[in-house]
Every structure is written in C-alpha cells, then in structure tokens.
Symmetry: C2
Subunit: 135 residues, 2 copies
DNA sequence: ATGTCATATACGCATATGCGTATGCGACTG
DNA sequence: CAGTCGCATACGCATATGCGTATATGACAT
C-alpha cells in the first residue's frame, strides 16, 4: 500500500498552475521549511501562504510535519513515476527563473545573515533534504 | 527571432490542467487532425472543442493550418527545452491512461473502419507526424 | 488561567473558467 | 449568388479560484 495515492495529471497540473505555489515548491526544493519562512520570503500575508500550502498538500505533492507550534512543509515525491518525473523537471525548470533564484537568496539571508527577516526570529531553521530537482 | 515565444511554467501548466485539453493533446500526438475528428472522438459539441483548441493555441503548444474549409491542428513543440520536455513527458504519461488509449482506438476506427463516425464523412484524413511523446 | 505565538480556516468579494446555445464568417457547391 | 459546410466566436450562466480581513485553534509561556 503506497503512503499516498497516485496523482492524476489534472490534479498535478492544476497544483502547478499558480505562480505562488510554484514559488513555494521552489523554496521547498532541498529543505523542509515552516510557514513563517514562506511568508517572509514572498513577503505576503500568512493566510495566503497557508491556503496554498494546504492546496499542495491536498494535491499530494507536499507533506507536513507538526513541531510544537510550527508546521514544517516539504515536497512529497508522488508515488507514480510519471508525476514524480514531471515534478522533478518542473523544479529544475524553476531553478532557472530569476524570481525563483531571488527567493532562494532571500531564504538564505533569512537563515544565515546577522539581519534575519523579522518574521522568522526564533523560528526553527530550515532542515536540509535531498532535493528532488536541481539543488 | 523564434517562431514562437518561450512558454512560461504557469501558462503551460494551466493549459495542461484540464481533462478535455489533455485528451485533445493526446489525440494530436503523432498526427495532425481537423476539428471534426476531435468532435467525433470526444463525442461532444463543436464549440467546446474549438474553444479548447484555441486555448492550447494561445498557450503556444498547438499550431493550426488552414486547408479550405478545414483547420488542421497539431502539437507545436515549445521553443524552450524545459517546456518541451514536460510536454513530451506528459504525452508519455497520458499514453498509459485507459480513456486516452480508448480515444486513440476511436480515432483509428474513425479513419479506417468501414463504419466511420458520421461526423467525419468526407473530412480530410489525419496526417501522420513525428510524435513528441510515445507513439 | 491568561496571554501570546504560529498556523489554519471562515467569510465575502472580485474575477476567471468552463459550458451549452446561438450566431458569425469564410470557403466551397449548385 | 443562395445554400451548405466547417469552424470560430459572442453571450449568458453556473461554478471555481484567488484574495484580504477577520477569526478560530492549539501549543507554549507566564
């Protein structure tokens, strides 16, 4: 029994058909993050982020882990190879997009620089993961 | 100057995020077809087909050719490799879907069987093409 | 217990999407 | 040149989607 059901093409593509969700996936490529990082990097309101993360989770391409008051989100590799391959290639594609690269730069600053984003003071740091797409 | 502009991830995924459009793309994988074939195989109304074909065309993943009163549609390989790769893998994926296979069976019957679909009597036959996905 | 923090969800709104029906339009036919 | 054929588009409608604001929930701190 697979941990999650096969993902249909329509469900996958609908999940990928939104810029905000693509940005979230790009940030999760290589690390598990809690919500406040997404809010900080995309500099938007928190409910918007939570809604899109919930969407990705329902679609089956993102998984969540509770940790005290924090929720950590990570990419969940789809059980069907076709969907997994497309997701991987999508992440590779995004890695060439300037805005996506900039998002990753901001994420890096948020963790490591002396002047971290205000939103994430005291938040648990990102947890590195095996990236699905290009690191 | 490229024949068509690069396709953005959102535009591509939005185009792929609809079952009807996926069925149309699947039918075009390997041949150029005129509208009446799509109408016959999907057994739906013609404006619905035309609208979805126009959508795919605007998205840049389908091209059209006028031939008298007929319009022939075919898959247009996106100029950016990332988009082309995803489109190809999508077509490969669809080739495993039962409904998609059934559609191709119907298309084959429509052309070759003695009892062709009524919709396509007198229509120009499909024109074989190099398939982008699995043939 | 009370407050605060991180996150999720409810709500109302504006816009987008997909659909069927009706109609427009160019191309061929008699 | 009137009719028909293949296709595209306009229109009205129902539903879906994404958004910001407000509020609920659950965990931790005091």
């Amino acid at each position: 029994m697979p941990r999650s059901a096969r993902i249909s093409a329509e469900v996958l593509f609908r999940a990928l058909a939104d810029r905000t969700r693509l940005r979230l996936l790009n940030l999760m490529n290589g690390q598990e993050l809690c919500v406040c990082y997404f809010v900080g990097v995309l500099s938007t309101n928190q409910p918007k982020i939570s809604r899109h993360l919930a969407y990705l989770r329902r679609a089956g391409i993102v998984a969540a882990r509770k940790d005290g008051k924090w929720m950590h989100y990570r990419i969940a590799v789809p059980p069907n190879d076709a969907a997994a391959k497309i997701l991987k290639q999508t992440l590779d594609w995004l890695a060439h997009d300037p805005e996506m690269r900039h998002d990753l730069t901001l994420l890096n600053k948020a963790c490591c620089s002396p002047n971290a984003l205000v939103e994430i003071e005291g938040a648990p740091p990102p947890i590195p993961m095996q990236p699905l797409g290009a690191a």
